[in-house]
């Protein structure tokens, strides 16, 4: 992370703050079990990298979607506050109403991208009941490293047959290659 090329083409810090609040609301099991911070960090980091590669049309649409999501609570739930300043319960009601409204397409776009990145976190993936190797690839079936570090190894190019040895086949990790 941290490349200027990515910074220019991806979400702003304000948009990321909105995305984080949406993800925390979307994926919480209930009020007593909020989404762990580490999963949100992972999802936001991946979202940022992902958006740096989407086309201009999608980037513009996403920008508009975050703007609407942040500023439309008054229209749907009558609260004169930005989305990020709502209580957890109000956020959930607002997103539910938005999803069922004629502007549901706004929610679809954001929910799709957030689901893409959130459910790649090994713990979130495990929570779905997925128990196969295909999704993460054979490289992640080896070793006893904790799930998150197993995900990150792609960025540092290990040899899948022996995680201790660097691979000669993969290039050194760069933001564009691994981001």
């Amino acid at each position: 992370m941290g490349s200027s090329a990515i910074d220019m083409k991806t979400l702003s810090s304000r948009q990321l703050a909105v995305a984080r609040a949406i993800a925390a609301t979307l994926f919480e099991a209930d009020a007593l079990h909020p989404v762990p911070r580490e999963r949100l960090d992972f999802a936001l980091q991946e979202l940022r990298a992902y958006v740096s590669r989407v086309g201009l049309q999608t980037r513009l649409a996403l920008g508009a979607a975050f703007f609407v999501l942040q500023h439309a609570p008054f229209l749907l739930i009558g609260k004169i506050r930005r989305f990020t300043r709502l209580s957890g319960e109000a956020r959930r009601k607002y997103l539910e109403k938005l999803e069922r409204s004629r502007f549901g397409i706004v929610m679809v776009l954001v929910k799709t991208l957030l689901s893409f990145v959130y459910f790649e976190h090994p713990d979130a993936l495990a929570g779905t009941g997925y128990d196969s190797q295909g999704l993460l690839g054979p490289a992640y079936a080896v070793g006893a490293a904790p799930p998150t570090s197993r995900l990150r190894v792609l960025e540092s190019s290990p040899n899948p047959s022996n995680p201790e040895e660097p691979s000669s086949e993969l290039r050194p990790a760069t933001v564009a290659k691994g981001a």
Binding site: F27, E28, R100, G104, S115, T128, G134, L135
Partner: protein, 517 residues
């Protein structure tokens, strides 16, 4: 004679500008470009293949997570879309941008072009060389090169088996698909690069063989223009891209023949940029998409739909109505995006994905799309869905949902935004109302075709039956752009077979000229 394959020259690593000369320059390394590269290199011609995407080896993409594959190997990270005009959904177009093109990212499904379609090509477009008999040799050649095999029933996932049970109860059967695979382990993530190197996509078949015959592949190389002198194609120009897709050096390739195989989305952009078809509006028009959709269903039992082949069975029982049913699955994170609800409700669905089954369908569409070239050369895609096609979508959604209920589903999720989960067949009645706005359909396609179509009439076609453009000598289009109509089946094999036929023609005419000279 086979040699060690030439290394792929990666534009991102190449210092400075690049100039080259060859008999043939091929734009695009996907299903069509790779086939032509192999055939022409084998015939002794010097061939350069220029690919806009990066070079991702099977070892690399085997380890990519789905979003990494999206970012590195799909055009626009998988977010390309056709904008719906009128009563039309936004249609997501998944297309590869990598060495090997979309063939590295499809389910590997192999269908021949239905005979009824070829009949219409002959009758309506005068393509007398495109009968099933005259394509047979090309089909056999592709099947040999890409290891086509029938998916055994024991490779079907429980999701597909359940759907098959429902189909049987409703009076129709599933048939086994053919795919280009060798040693498939059923990891159910073909669309994100095979994790087991079992898919025989063109990067490991045709293109590898072409490189053994000396063809040179340049990746990270965006072709921006065609060079035409005195009405004849003489080469291409473009730019090398770095790993972050920024320009880093110019490319100039002089060639005696230029073959364009950039897909139905990109090929018309190059042709329009060169002024081809300026007076007819045929270039970029006639875009067909095979709009596809899937229905998901929850059962009271463990389905674990990710265990088995991603695509293994199909039904042509509704072919007369323009609907083909295909088994399909998607990675968990992609499927989760279609589940309803927020917070606890969404969690209830995502935490039970073991009980989720899916099946898909696509429609044989009329072709209401167009590729527009914007200033700077970028493309914008529009699509207007005909009433007939909208009705086909509604019918297809209903068939899928009814079949799942027949199989015992407790809840069915429809690809219609804003519609709550359905719990009985009776609740599907609303699909009979054609006033449902089509923009609420969730729609995706892997098969854009037909934006530089082949035909005998230069006023409505872009290329001759030989693939050569009417406007420019020595300039050929060999990809799915040349299809004069939608085909109603997965397009990988049809594109490869037509490219084979066109490349054989180019090779044979060249040899005849040499002999005559």
């Amino acid at each position: 004679m086979y040699r060690t394959p030439t290394p792929i020259l990666e534009g991102r690593d190449h210092p400075g500008p690049l100039t080259a000369e060859a008999d043939v320059a091929i734009v695009g390394s996907g299903a069509a470009g790779s086939v032509a590269a192999k055939i022409l290199a084998e015939a002794g011609h010097s061939v350069i293949v220029l690919e806009e995407g990066g070079n991702h080896t099977p070892d690399e993409y085997a380890r990519y997570r789905p979003t990494e594959t999206f970012r590195h190997m799909y055009r626009d990270a998988g977010t390309t879309a056709a904008i719906g005009l009128g009563d039309t959904p936004l249609i997501s177009i998944l297309a590869g941008r990598t060495v090997g093109g979309s063939s590295t990212l499809t389910g590997g499904v192999i269908f021949r072009i239905p005979e009824a379609i070829l009949d219409s090509w002959v009758k309506d477009h005068g393509l007398v060389d495109y009968t099933p008999e005259k394509l047979e040799e090309a089909y056999l050649s592709v099947e040999r090169e890409t290891f086509v095999e029938t998916v055994p029933e024991n490779m079907r996932s429980a999701s597909t088996a359940l759907f098959g049970e429902g189909a049987k109860k409703l009076g129709y059967e599933l048939k086994s698909m053919k795919r280009n695979t060798r040693g498939c382990l059923g990891s159910s993530r073909c669309n994100f690069g095979c994790p087991n190197k079992a898919k025989m996509s063109v990067d490991v078949t045709y293109l590898a063989t072409a490189r053994s015959y000396g063809a040179q592949v340049i990746s990270d190389c965006r072709v921006t223009g065609l060079e035409i002198e005195g009405g004849r194609a003489t080469g291409v120009k473009g730019e090398l891209l770095d790993a972050e897709r920024r320009k880093r050096g110019k490319v100039h390739v002089r060639a005696r023949k230029v073959l364009i195989a950039g897909s139905a989305l990109s090929t018309p952009l190059l042709l329009k940029g060169a002024g081809v078809g300026r007076w007819t509006r045929a270039v970029g028009g006639n875009l067909t998409l095979h709009p596809g959709f899937r229905v998901a269903a929850y059962f009271d039992r463990d389905v674990s739909a990710w265990k088995g082949a991603l695509q293994s069975a199909y039904s042509d029982a509704f072919e007369d109505e323009g609907i083909t049913l295909n088994s399909v699955f998607a990675p968990i994170n992609v499927l989760a995006a279609m589940l309803p609800g927020v917070g606890p409700e969404l969690h209830a669905y995502t935490s039970n994905m073991r009980e989720l089954a899916t099946f898909g369908a696509m429609i044989h569409d009329e072709g209401g799309g167009r590729v527009w070239r914007m200033p700077g050369g970028k493309g914008v895609y529009t699509y207007r869905m005909g009433r007939r096609d909208k009705l086909r979508m509604l019918k297809g959604i209903r068939i899928l949902a009814e079949t799942f209920f027949a199989a015992g589903a407790k809840e069915v999720l429809l690809p219609v935004f804003g519609v709550r989960p359905i719990r009985s067949v009776d609740e599907l009645r609303f699909l009979e109302d054609e006033r449902i706005p089509a923009r609420r359909f969730e729609c995706v396609t892997f098969h854009p075709l037909g934006t530089a179509r082949m035909g005998l009439d230069p006023s409505t076609s872009v290329v001759k039956p030989s693939g050569e453009t009417y406007d420019v000598e020595g300039l050929y289009v060999i990809d799915g752009s040349v299809f004069p109509s939608s085909i109603g089946v997965n397009s990988q094999m049809p594109i490869m077979a037509v490219a084979t036929k066109l490349a054989w023609g180019i090779r044979d005419r060249w040899q005849s000229k040499r002999v005559a000279a």
